[in-house]
Symmetry: C5
Subunit: 315 residues, 5 copies
Amino acid sequence: MLKILGYINNDLKKITLNELSEEYSLIWIDCYAPSDDELLQLSKKIDIEIEELKVGLDEQEVPRVEEEDEYYLIIYKAPLFEEDITTTSFGIYIKDNIILTLHIDKIKSIGKIYNLLKTKKPKILLDRGKGFFLYNLLNQITLSYSKIILNLEDELDKLESNLLQDQNNITGEILQLRKTLVYFHKALVSNKDVLSILKRKYLPITTQDDREHIEDLYYDTLQLIDMETTYRELLVSMMDMSLSLENIRMNQIMKVLTMVTTLFAVPVWITGIYGMNFKYMPLLNNPYGFWIVMGISAIIILILLYVFLKEKWIK
Amino acid sequence: MLKILGYINNDLKKITLNELSEEYSLIWIDCYAPSDDELLQLSKKIDIEIEELKVGLDEQEVPRVEEEDEYYLIIYKAPLFEEDITTTSFGIYIKDNIILTLHIDKIKSIGKIYNLLKTKKPKILLDRGKGFFLYNLLNQITLSYSKIILNLEDELDKLESNLLQDQNNITGEILQLRKTLVYFHKALVSNKDVLSILKRKYLPITTQDDREHIEDLYYDTLQLIDMETTYRELLVSMMDMSLSLENIRMNQIMKVLTMVTTLFAVPVWITGIYGMNFKYMPLLNNPYGFWIVMGISAIIILILLYVFLKEKWIK
Amino acid sequence: MLKILGYINNDLKKITLNELSEEYSLIWIDCYAPSDDELLQLSKKIDIEIEELKVGLDEQEVPRVEEEDEYYLIIYKAPLFEEDITTTSFGIYIKDNIILTLHIDKIKSIGKIYNLLKTKKPKILLDRGKGFFLYNLLNQITLSYSKIILNLEDELDKLESNLLQDQNNITGEILQLRKTLVYFHKALVSNKDVLSILKRKYLPITTQDDREHIEDLYYDTLQLIDMETTYRELLVSMMDMSLSLENIRMNQIMKVLTMVTTLFAVPVWITGIYGMNFKYMPLLNNPYGFWIVMGISAIIILILLYVFLKEKWIK
Amino acid sequence: MLKILGYINNDLKKITLNELSEEYSLIWIDCYAPSDDELLQLSKKIDIEIEELKVGLDEQEVPRVEEEDEYYLIIYKAPLFEEDITTTSFGIYIKDNIILTLHIDKIKSIGKIYNLLKTKKPKILLDRGKGFFLYNLLNQITLSYSKIILNLEDELDKLESNLLQDQNNITGEILQLRKTLVYFHKALVSNKDVLSILKRKYLPITTQDDREHIEDLYYDTLQLIDMETTYRELLVSMMDMSLSLENIRMNQIMKVLTMVTTLFAVPVWITGIYGMNFKYMPLLNNPYGFWIVMGISAIIILILLYVFLKEKWIK
Amino acid sequence: MLKILGYINNDLKKITLNELSEEYSLIWIDCYAPSDDELLQLSKKIDIEIEELKVGLDEQEVPRVEEEDEYYLIIYKAPLFEEDITTTSFGIYIKDNIILTLHIDKIKSIGKIYNLLKTKKPKILLDRGKGFFLYNLLNQITLSYSKIILNLEDELDKLESNLLQDQNNITGEILQLRKTLVYFHKALVSNKDVLSILKRKYLPITTQDDREHIEDLYYDTLQLIDMETTYRELLVSMMDMSLSLENIRMNQIMKVLTMVTTLFAVPVWITGIYGMNFKYMPLLNNPYGFWIVMGISAIIILILLYVFLKEKWIK
């Protein structure tokens, strides 16, 4: 699917591949899960080999900056909202007045930029050139990570209070969060490297101002890595604690079972004894026999209860 | 909330935003959880962009030193006393004769400095200039970490003796301490980096003397990191041990259960047998039948007790 | 087993050891699990010491590039499909117009290259010289890793849903996957080092073009390492979770056991009491005795059920 | 508590603070847990600021070498024998002909040096100057670590055989050892850094010979770190194993319980059935009824025993 | 115990300490667990201080190369076959035409070299000088590690299949292997450092050829480290899995117990009810009473069995 926006004289037009021209001060081509045919056409029009374009469509590609003779390629990782939250790679190709974003998965941040352009502020985003647009794109993605990670904090707090209050099984949720954080860690660390290159290197696509903006993004990413690492360690602690709590609960259950079994072992045996059909048994014909036997049973039960109480099995 | 103190000719005055002037040798503005309006005014008066000020209010910001053209910004992490003890970032802006501390969370150490100034020793803290005041601020924060970590040591000792003596569940407390230490570790390591820059770099805001003081702080922070790491490793050991102890306790409980069940299995069966209503059963009419059966039961129980004793199930 | 292919004037011939000559623009000797005799002959014909050749046959050898006076030796690790998927080392010797691959285990990728040459595209693979053929060889191996790792992703997803749905034991499969990933990690990291040398160093066996191709391989390998690490961490999380789930299941089972035992403890004791053969027992001759006793039993059972419900043992 | 020894003309005298003079070729002041007053006096006499002296009394201080204008300060960590074996920091101040050791905790090695001086060999230790005395001090401490760590080895062996033989709970002892090793690791690693500086740097307080001795100490410390790390890893393995063994023991216990319960379930039910008071029950009046029923019970028990044997529950 | 071999004119003689002379082209002194007297004599004859020799006898010494004025000392770690397989340090002193190996533990590889010299090939090993002999010594030790590690692979495979098939306790064996690997890891890493110095540094005791041989050893050691690390990770995985399997087995046992208890709970209660001696009970005199009650019991048992089957407790 191809969406192309051309910016000329403070005006933003939706154009087609055939209308690409150098008149526009900036053209943004967003290419999402293209068909083979679309890719072929795109390759022809902007004159980048189809093999090179396919690199941008590989969702596992390692983030990096590639300086080719004719264009720049930036591979970057964005959050991917599927069943779980993981990450996906996408490619940003910058050539002359064209910025091409190429991705196989749906990336929310790109949709957001598109909406911003269509509705409100094309001028603000596009007047300052390619480098600034690039910064805005990367910024949206960083914000997207940021939002999810801040959400995680709330989820962590909820999990923690769940853990301490009742016996719900939080293992599934912990696994989910750990998975997301594992993906985020990898993604953020390699994004950080990309930003570190973009902020340091004097690429012709960025101005000094852009580089300063990107430096801010760099620190934001560092901060996200820091938070994410903290949360990951807390999750491990919580997993440990959850395991320990399950053991403690098991202990409680076993104590109940053992108490019940122990309390009634002798009394039941006694009733069994007097249920035997021997002709001659002591106390059998004694009018107080029943009460004597029941009294002994009661005393045994009381002694055992006292022992359990002293051993703190009953609290 | 804004609190402004101006120091002039050995005299400390509480002033307002409009009274800021270069007459004062040192002005300290403490801005805690400012309203949008306060922030706007502050921004105008001291001529730092509002966007820049907001950096100091982000409680997740990464500690660092930023040298801008007009001012210096130091982001630092302080302990945060909420439900759990975690950490929070705050900003110190130094511009001309103004030191501005900007924070969204309540920071005890800043309150303490404020009280010190108001009650006793403005002269000692303020006569030696901005760098020395900055040192005192950072020092208070380091002391605050220090106190908490020393407290942790006592708590660890208490936990350890709890662990060895009875069966209280210490998992919740271990989790709490681990959480605090995870936050402290991140905070102290990045604070250390800030101090390392402040002690090395010849910034115009610090004198040689200040830098030497800050070097001491640097070593104090190293020491705190060292202690905190040690305590973290001990907590992991204790968690392991707690898990193991729970298993051992479970084993004990299971042994009691198994012993009780095993002891009475055959005797109860025997009483069941002689409780059956068959007309013809051996021993039934034998006057010693009851005693023979009871004797056999007793022997079985004694043999089993002997086995349990030998297997060290009973100690 | 020796297979030798000679390429001359766009023509590919299957030749023998004795037909080796400098006429061919490229000769590929694939030597798989050679007999001592074959190895001796090979050593004589291509004039590399037999000791040196044995290095290539050691399946544990560390991947590296060795520049000898007369030839180049590249040790590389390929996936090995046996019971489990592990890895094996093999040697690539490059001398004059000869490329010799020497391996003790069956390597699928080499078989694939051989088939490609025999069936379809000798010209494409061989026209561009030794360096390009080497690149194709290494590329096939990287693709082979890639396929397996992508398969792993599916297996991981399957494991995860298994984990959450029912109580199958997935431990064995997790162990299998972890084993494969441990081997892959070692292999990919050392392969990466080999590729890093090949892409940087101006060896006479590679052209600038070849080095650029190898650089792509280098990034592909980085990407594989990244994926493999991610999956390894997920496997550890899943192992943790599996352990926790087993504990939770045990808790459930113990609860059932404890409930059943507790529910019937008193009612069974009561029936035992009224099964005793005392002459004088209360209620015994009361016509409603049976119903009174049964009513008491029922009430006890109902109270216990209510307690279990409140404690959330029954959901 | 202050102990001062002055060495002059091969003669060792116990002197007081007021007798300090430059006549002595070497003066050793050992100051253990000084009162405020003692510290004040000491500070005056040797002309080091009291704040600086307090650094040496902080038991948590990070080991390091500080070169001040007038004196050298070495912070070093020694083993501390309290309830558990942990570590403590102490300060060595070297100024002119004075060596001052300042410590808040009792340090055995210093006591040992003191005894050596008082009883036997003042000449050997003191004739070769400050550097050599310093070396001897540090050497005693290293020996002290060494002895404890070698003891640990024996304890580890004992633990291991305990682990494999019977069911004593070794968790407490493992925790103790882990704690000691965690402290030792931190201490030895920072001591190593101190020694590394002392052996490399041309400080005026050490001769070439002293530096060579200190280099030996450096290697000894490396060796201790190596041993300590090994033991720590073994402790973790043993903890894992202990956990696993407890699980296995639990399995054994549960098997016994399950066997007993299962063996008697049906036979007890059968006796219950024939204990019912129905008028009409099969076999009731059959003279062989009792034996038939008992035979069936015996067969059931034998079948179950056979099953348990086949499933290897009974070995 | 001292064994001395002198090599002169292609002839190998067993000589004594007094016969040491510079006539021999090479003298090998193997000194195993020497008495104090032997050590004293040795020290005198070869003129190395006794303190220096004792370094070689310390089994915990850190491997390294020391260049003294008069001689070279190489500390190296060899496998030690005692109860478990661990490692031990020994010293190789090279001075003039003398190679002295000094060790407190029995080292198999040295015995093997000795046998090789005595029986077959003195010429091959000794003609090429000290460096080559040194290489052969180190090579034997590396081979010794190699053999043990290859054995480990088989043991690992055996453990793995044990793990998957039946319920033997493999924890003890895993602990054993982990212990060996922990010692090997430390030893191989420091040996690698020694080899790295020997292969790089132009010591007068090695020729260019020797250094090339040692480089091969260096790669062999790298390979061993690689294998050993892999096996260690696999052992941890297996330990995890073993723990998990024990839990699963426990679950199975608990299920059996719970099923048996649950199946008979109600039927046994029913028999108890009809075993009570009330005069008036329903069905008691009904000729089908017995069959009705037994039928109800059977139906309850069948329903429960169906539930267990559906819950997959019975498979």
